[in-house]
Symmetry: C2
Subunit: 433 residues, 2 copies
Amino acid sequence: MSQFQPARGTRDFLPEEMSRRGYIIDSVRKAFESFGFEPMETPAFESWELLSKKGSGGDEIRDEIYYFRDKSDRELGLRFDLTVPLARVVANNPQMKMPFKRYQIGRVWRYDRPQAGRMREFMQMDVDTVGTERMDADAECIAVAFEALKQLGFSKFEIRLNSRKVLNGMIEFAGIPAKKSKATFRILDKLEKISLGDIKRELKKAGLQSGTVTKLMHMIGVKGKPAATLSRISRQLKGIAIAEEGLRELGEISALAKSYGFGKNLVIDFSLVRGLDYYTGPIFEISVTAGKNVGSVVGGGRYDNLIGLYGGRQTPATGISLGIERIYEIMKSENMFKDIESRCLIFVIAVNDAVRKQVCDIARRLRKECLRVEADVMGRDMRKQLEYANKKGACCAVIVGPKEVKSRKYTLRDMKSGRESKLSLDSIIKKIC
Amino acid sequence: MSQFQPARGTRDFLPEEMSRRGYIIDSVRKAFESFGFEPMETPAFESWELLSKKGSGGDEIRDEIYYFRDKSDRELGLRFDLTVPLARVVANNPQMKMPFKRYQIGRVWRYDRPQAGRMREFMQMDVDTVGTERMDADAECIAVAFEALKQLGFSKFEIRLNSRKVLNGMIEFAGIPAKKSKATFRILDKLEKISLGDIKRELKKAGLQSGTVTKLMHMIGVKGKPAATLSRISRQLKGIAIAEEGLRELGEISALAKSYGFGKNLVIDFSLVRGLDYYTGPIFEISVTAGKNVGSVVGGGRYDNLIGLYGGRQTPATGISLGIERIYEIMKSENMFKDIESRCLIFVIAVNDAVRKQVCDIARRLRKECLRVEADVMGRDMRKQLEYANKKGACCAVIVGPKEVKSRKYTLRDMKSGRESKLSLDSIIKKIC
């Protein structure tokens, strides 16, 4: 074993796993493109000033990202998401046609404590729609993620929906000073990680009064089907303008959900907060259930102020992000990768060294018609070539010897059954490509 | 305009350019897979110790890469290629089946002076075959790159081939001490960037005698068709064991080139050196010519010591790398992206707000059959929707109004000709999907 390991919090993806990740990425990308989203890419690192700006990462991001300086002492950091770079790009390109609908699939880095399924380097798959305040865009982003997951084979979903505006209204209603709202959100965001008791203790420690905490916790505990849940909380928050606006928006998304096909999966959940500072409106998460696995694999929301914050024209935007790592883990444990395991690899086998040139030619010819064709590059004998082909999962082998070359009929061997037949190259292509 | 720009030496890729880059990546990936290479990924950063090890990057890499420390003071650096990480992975996985044929497409970072077409962040597309000393693997790597370029539409190639062994033999023959060979290579590697006179001056400055320099420069000036060139230099280097070994290997690759289909494009060029320390055997580059553009877009070679150097079992390996940036520039200037511009986007248009739900349904239905289907999310009127569809390059529009909904016949508009026809959804799908 080598003394050199991947850096802490990062890992390698060997072919078996990587093929499956590639399958996920390709399927998701296809779903993104099917809605008219277009690809974009941004650098792996950004200026530190951008990443740590109040409203993007904010002060608290300092402990959570990789920071470095280039050789001219410029302060830089590895990107921690794909939304901040998108907002920078839009701010820099005022000529852009709106709506700007882009997708980006790429790695991001966060200096979290590494733990099972949570690395410091991970991949996000994002769609965002920039340039409209309409809830149609939010609904469409949810729909894209929903379709992507369906195409991967998931069938049980819960789409949880909340709104930062409603949460702000609740904070106002509970009598919490506005300047404490961010700290409050940050504590509430831990709801899935720490106990309710701990949340309450932390809120009190942050200076909230006991009655206030009870009031707040009561409201954020409300969860259920859209119509009933929204009307119930509407009565409570009546007269609080920001909450009413947020609830109206949630109502709009709920109505659109039916047209977009995810109406039945939608629930309103006022405990959903989402960690990042930049959200301003609806926020959403999608969990999937497969077998015994439940996982939140998608998250997103609206951020109407971020682009303006970076010096661009004030431009509303919303988006959603799929995390490949959890999707992969669930699909793996539920054996949902059947499709790709059937992609055929054809191995062309040289019976002896005299026919290696012909093997090369035949492989080249097959490659024009078939997906994946391999031949030996190690000078191995026939038995070892067959062994390797088998280990690599080849579905069939084309065996080439001097007799075959003369007769122009080659032995086609089904690697599973071991059955063999003699066929011309054209017939082989017809049969297996 | 925003105050926030991409970090120096990096840039954004907006959709138009990114779609084209995606097309290149997809085509190259398909070529890689067609030869049985499998995907692998490694982290963006590696331990500094690995990157700067003598034989991988070596001392001189210090000035050329992004260096940083994580919060536990571990020394790290952004990877400068995909070969060093591959060698680390193989060293760490002694159970791997050989040959290990992997491809990796990913970003790398080098702290060069940014200049036109040369960024500090760029993308490499690599195939490597690990586990065999046979020249079949080298020939196959060249063939993969060759096929990938052909599939992108290139037709004029020059494949330049040399060998580090032959170069070492020449250095021995010229009477240069072995310990000066690396410095000599590094100077020779500048042949395409600085003048012959400057090269000679630098070699003398490095302590080489005038006669030695003349002798060396004469030999590396030899270039031409394999058979004649190899036999000519063989006579000169007769008796120098390392050179004879190298020349025999080049002869083998030249013979295999015919079977692999690139025999006509191969030249032996003893001035080819390639910058990195780790090469041990054959080295190669592919240049393409398209219109007035000539560019070296592919490079690679054999590195039989790298994996052993990292503490793995001594394992031979060879590989090749395609640079997307130059390929993109040439394809763009020669208008070689026709294919992707014809991918059809269908826009479903709402005549008024009353039919938005139906538009949503129709878009969803079409999306099941067609590639890319978009509908308005901005609440725009019909005229503006058509304008946007046009700007985004939609090939046709399906126009939905109350009448259409009632009759279940929708207006299909060809966006280029403006021609319209009334059709059922099934007929529309048959016609355009």
